[in-house]
Symmetry: C2
Subunit: 385 residues, 2 copies
């Protein structure tokens, strides 16, 4: 079929070329393919010591490194394939990228995820049964929906991801509370549904009766790029402006749209917001000025630029009267990984000392990474509604 068959032959040739050399070095003993590997790929791999194994075909490269929580040199075989291995990693999901002669790039064998500098490769170091809560189980499954809406604020069509719990469609009368759940810097609306495994976490908690059935809305926080003040720009002002469009779009466009399109309970008592890292910052920027719209607040490794001694005055004095704040906000969650330092612990203690009721959670053995945030979600949602 002429050109058409040429196209297939090119794919075939590509297959041969990619595949043939792949046989040169045997698969390292005691390793298995990471769940993040693309269909029928043999790498990235992991072993029982929680080490990750990588390879890349780069015949003319003079230096290839892999950046996976730390930077590791890779070793070149005569056939042009480079191989690398990490030290033992913490369990869970880790972004990585290759550095090919100074170029930061993804791994052709790995699926790609929003995060890190843009799109990144990733490896999942398996947990034991304690990780079953974010794995698909034989329970009723909800759906994650990609939904298009028009933003009057930005004047463009946007899309958000909406988790609906199992059974949502089997009754036209039941209405549900809503959690607005945000990602971090360099990420987008796909983060929670992909590396966050939000649907499995919610399905399993709901099936066990550990949390109420709820709708979870995930949008792009307009912070999908590394933060960088422009030349001569004041860093403080730049920080205030970074992702600042999102709270306006959420209040003005997203919430009204979700309350129209889905069977929500459209009041503050049934509306929560949480976010990780920069999304935690955006959660406070969104909820604190709008406590008429939100009664539940969560931050996961939140980029919280608060100081304990400023509590009486910041955010237009929303914390000034702790008793009043505690009456209005039914959950104020501050989660963090044990390897992230004690800044958020001290902030939680400042809130407590000042009389602001808050729930402080530490994810053991994890840093600023997605397993911390899966665990934070698991700890936060049972307290909702």
């Amino acid at each position: 079929m002429g050109t058409f068959h040429k196209t297939l032959s090119l794919l075939l040739a590509g297959g041969l070329c990619l595949g043939a050399a792949a046989q040169e070095r045997p698969l390292p003993e005691g390793t298995t393919v990471s769940e993040t590997a693309l269909f029928q790929r043999e790498y990235p791999r992991v072993d029982a010591q929680r080490r990750a194994y990588f390879r890349l075909y780069a015949p003319q490269a003079t230096e290839v490194k892999v950046d996976c929580r730390a930077v590791y040199a890779m070793e070149k075989d005569p056939d042009g394939w480079w191989y690398g291995r990490t030290e033992p990693l913490s369990v869970g999901f880790h972004f990585y990228n290759f550095l090919v002669d100074g170029a930061t790039v993804t791994d052709p064998d790995s699926d790609t995820y929003c995060g890190s500098y843009g799109r990144s490769s990733a490896v999942e170091i398996p947990e034991g049964p304690e990780g079953d809560y974010y794995r698909p189980q034989n329970v009723p499954h909800g759906q994650v929906r990609s939904v298009v809406y028009h933003s009057s604020f930005s004047g463009e069509y946007r899309r958000c991801m909406v988790y609906t719990p199992a059974g949502y469609e089997n009754s036209l009368t039941r209405r549900y509370p809503v959690l607005y759940l945000q990602h971090g810097m360099c990420e987008d609306e796909t983060g929670w549904a992909r590396q966050g495994k939000v649907n499995h976490i919610m399905d399993n908690l709901i099936a066990e009766g550990k949390c109420k059935p709820m709708i979870v809305v995930m949008d792009s926080g307009d912070c999908g790029i590394p933060f960088r003040p422009k030349k001569g720009e004041d860093p403080g002002k730049a920080r205030e402006a970074f992702g600042a469009s999102f709270p306006k779009i959420l209040i003005q466009d997203i919430i009204p749209f979700i309350d129209r399109e889905f069977r929500t309970i459209p009041d503050r008592e049934n509306r929560a917001m949480a976010g990780l890292s920069w999304g935690g910052h955006q959660t406070l920027e969104t909820t604190l000025p709008n406590l008429d719209k939100f009664a539940w607040i969560g931050t996961f490794s939140g980029a919280l630029f608060l100081r304990g001694n400023e509590l009486p005055t910041i955010h237009d004095g929303v914390f000034a009267n702790p008793a009043a704040f505690n009456r209005r906000v039914h959950a104020f969650f501050i989660g963090v990984g044990s390897e992230e330092g004690d800044g958020l612990k001290r902030l939680s203690e400042s809130f407590t000392a000042y009389g602001i009721r808050n729930q402080y959670y530490v994810s053991p053995g994890t840093a600023h990474e997605w397993l911390t945030w899966r665990r934070c979600l698991k700890e936060f949602v049972p307290s909702l509604f």
Copy 2:
């Protein structure tokens, strides 16, 4: 906040490093950012002559090329950034990858899509108003749902993407016909919803009354890797085995699941299947032995390994009685790009000469690429149901 702030600082540093040098070469005049660029990225770019512009930071690389329908050398600036430009491309969606000292990698500035060798970067050369049918319009919007199901055939949890038309939820009584729509080699269940823009195409056609509201189900065809026979394996047998699990999973698991989970009309008269490239091959492999389950068939640049002179005997003689076939199959669509050669034209003519009614469509000016398949979908679905 110790490590936590270090993490933010690293992101910040990353931003400065990525961003600073980016100012060195001014943006080429008369160009705009491709819609495939990540949030606030400046590349890839396109101009009015339908040329694509790329850049990559690879300070120590000795050779960087970009492969976008053809391979183009890129030029290095003293600051470590490489720049490249294509010749005029056809309108529509084109995959591309960089070749960094022989390593095939994606572009950090572009979103990534299933296709090509695995995950690929892409650039969209804008059409005029003739492309409005795959752009979001002010019409009622359906949803694309990510749905988890268990496959008894493969013994694993899988997920499929399901388009439900606008208004699907507003009545619990209305039932809908179903189109099963497959991707091609090296792709997966995300292809049609991402680069295929299936939801916009369906929303717009339905809003104009050009096609019936229907459910569209997109799954992984288990062919997401370049086809390659194993050493010593018979290429014909290898080809038969490539993606051969999918027809079984579709019949045994997916169709029953969809008919349970969604409000379908679960009979052959209201069930269609179509696929592109290898998905076209899988469509014939699935539908022809199961005409009790499908009455509508579409192939878009299908990898159809049929010869006109074999029509009386192949596929257990399903074509042997043209009149009977024409009575059972209400649409038999063969679409292709004008730049793909005349193989499928000759096949269509063989079918016609033999008495098999079929609809042959040629996408003008396009090759084995996604604009061909968006157009095929637009031509195919109005004939359904």
